[in-house]
Symmetry: D4
Subunit: 149 residues, 8 copies
């Protein structure tokens, strides 16, 4: 069974590339999408395209909305969403995506380390799998598409 998978959350490490590479090595029939992961460009796309703002709020507002064109479209098309919570930053957009996906009744895989367990309990409670590392995610993707581990 083929799958469309959206990789949401942390954009500071190369976890997306690792998942994509491992799935490719396994020949899994999966099409991946995700947000723009060039952090600086993602922050500044709004003013770069639509013009400067003096107020940081509107600077960010324009950027967040332009990014939403891509992220909403890709999430709506996906069969499965993986949300990774990393070590740094508040990552509220990751939790926002998890809530958005839950309301759409799409399957959700959460990835985070033990440290965040208590704080993420509501998010974890809606996931179909709570994973700790990339290998667990890849195994689930293999099992889902091929019925093997």
């Amino acid at each position: 069974m083929n799958l469309k998978v959206y990789l949401s959350g942390e954009i500071h490490t190369n976890w997306r590339d690792e998942i994509i590479k491992k799935c490719k090595d396994l020949n899994l029939p999966i099409e991946f999408t995700g947000p723009v992961d060039n952090h600086e460009l993602s922050d500044d796309c709004g003013i770069a395209i639509l013009g400067k703002e003096n107020n940081k709020f509107w600077h960010d507002h324009k950027g967040a909305k332009i990014n939403a064109i891509r992220t909403r479209t890709a999430i709506e098309r996906s069969d499965l969403i993986v949300v990774r919570f990393g070590e740094k930053y508040k990552q509220w957009n990751a939790a926002f995506d998890a809530g958005f996906v839950t309301a759409l009744s799409k399957p959700l895989i959460i990835m985070h380390n033990d440290e965040h367990q208590h704080a993420l309990k509501e998010v974890d409670a809606t996931a179909l799998a709570v994973t700790k590392n990339i290998d667990e995610v890849v195994k689930i993707l293999k099992y889902t598409t091929e019925g093997k581990i």
Copy 2:
């Protein structure tokens, strides 16, 4: 126009009581709901009702799901959701609620101080109002229900 308003997010300060009291003083026709805001009980309701767990993950899991019975039901019934991000903790459940509400196409009011502005840009971008304090929220509720400020 009457309203059903759900107050999501921070449960460590009495912001809900303040909003409810001010709206009551103004005789606004609003029915408020929110999560259980007894923090300890909210954390432990799962094991208190359904039995102890050795593993903290399952301890939290059972509690988070029981709380979801109340929160999902109340959010689904509401016309408007106010989500407050406070000073402390990760507050991923607040961001989760914002994402959930966005997918339901319900109006969202976000409340946070300037410090969190950049981290909340994706959440703010989906809100119909981004407020800094209780008075702004109350004014919006008055304007929405009565057409006056």
Copy 3:
């Protein structure tokens, strides 16, 4: 049969009051809602509540969003929406409401004079009635609720 009716569009004449009064005189079981029709307040509610903006675009943006809390909620609750196109201004928000209502599959009554007929052909084509004056609207409301003319 009782009805919830939303009166959308022009806010510069007292057409809403006339419809409401005539329906009240006929004892029709109808609950009316509509946007805030204090034009100045409607334009400035955003900055009045959430603070000034130097840029007119953001000034209007904040106001339009706060008004949307009321209008979206009231439209979602209504059984029937009446949209009036008056003599003045562009009235794009009236046409926007008509499109919004059409996608929700709710019954739509349009009101405008002959002059605007050609320009409103796409809007009229989705309506269940295209009316020219208040009396026609009131008669439809009487017929719908009471089965008489």
Copy 4:
């Protein structure tokens, strides 16, 4: 990421061709649709196919409905809708499309010049981007599909 984009609104200038050509020159993986932009044919398709009407209202009615077969179908299939408000005419069908798309929760890009800013504030408030010219639209489409500017 590929996209299906519907270009709504003004049919008197060649803005659609310009956007399509620029995106093609950039090799963006986008499939464009739009309304029939032969103005005369669009106005008269109803009577040309289904027979003459003495009354201009029904003349327009039949045409508007036949055009709706194409426009509704194409909008429903699209990931993203661009709505352009030009210099001339009332353009209520453009605002209607914006409202329709908003109710479907699809991403919306609005294009208009400064002159219409205040009149379009409600429409702009629901858009994910408000642009002033073709180049801004093309840049957003490039950023959304390729993650670059």
Copy 5:
């Protein structure tokens, strides 16, 4: 359990009054709605309110749409729809209502005599009960609301 029941179909006999009376005599907690059953008024409401048409098609068109305001609203609100096919006329609007209700996934009771059995097979196949007379309908309503026969 209370119910909202819409009585669709034939408007030439007094079957609605009989069902309503029998349910009232049994004190069943049911609220009934239905189309305007003044046949002549139902046919002519369009031109009576919105003005004459020379063409019978548009005469009927205006009336059918005004009637749809009532019928669609009442059907959408109902828990259960009863559709009666009588002896006379084509009764395509009855079959139309049955299809409309089926797509909404609302429970459907069909009433007709044996003569129409084969012609109504597709309609009957979507119903939760196919009845032959008023007493069977009333018994189902009693059983559904009170759990007794």
Copy 6:
């Protein structure tokens, strides 16, 4: 623009073949589906596959449900539905399909001759085009897919 078109209604004349042939001759990018139009097989498929029934009602019931597997699936997938009312029989399933499609908010084209105009007024009122013959349908399909007549 390509289209998926479902041809509903009368199965006693070869109107489907004519439409399909004319569209093919025009090279229109349209994929057609429809019900099984072998009348006898359509009536008896239930007992032929699932075993005989003594009661004609259950004989028809089993057949109507098996046919519904095909018709519901094909209608759900279609962009546009054409419903033809012919000269003979009650054709309640045609009206049922029109109601079903209306509730799904899909575009509807009705085809019938003048004789049935009054009886079909409610059905016609929900259609985007009411046609009298095959050529009108083909012209609409050409206009919708190619923007020409």
Copy 7:
């Protein structure tokens, strides 16, 4: 917070009465519904109302559909569904209700003893609480409505 609760599943013991009584004693603002729990009547309502069938399949078919009028309506209206799996019978209708409710995204509480744990793992996995007895259910209902245990 008030609640509408549907009690699904086993109809051979008086578990519904116990839950209802305990909640009443606690003054919880809950409105309960459930299927007809007169087992014999529930099995035979179809033929009792609509006439005898020689074939047991159609005997049951008519009854199951009439019962569905009540159960579907009550489930659709409920905020929360409790499904109890008892000691006896196959109880496939209980599992069916759980699947139906899951697709509607309504909160689900499952009740069963340890013996059935493995066989119910897919059902339990979609529930917000898996309980072993009536007291656990009542505590959850108290906590959900009153925020206390």
Copy 8:
């Protein structure tokens, strides 16, 4: 007409392979999906991927949720679902799938022998066909895709 068919239920016999082979021999344009039918792996996938659990409930919980990623996705994509109830086990997940599919308004074919008829009456009542063996299912699939038996 091509079809996407999901084969739900019993995983202890090779009924899926038989249906797939017979449809292939008939060249029917059908794409089949189903759950992972390696029973042991299906039971233990949760702990195999995400780590051991001491408690059998959580052992099963993790596995059931991972399996749900595949089953929910495949069911959502399918046009038609076949649910087989075999001789052994409780098979509550089969009945759960039937309820889930019913709420999604997708066509359902049930397969079981006479012994289970009464216990499955509620499930059968929502199906478009109740079959006794593989050949009946294959004939329905042939009839649906090709219009022949």
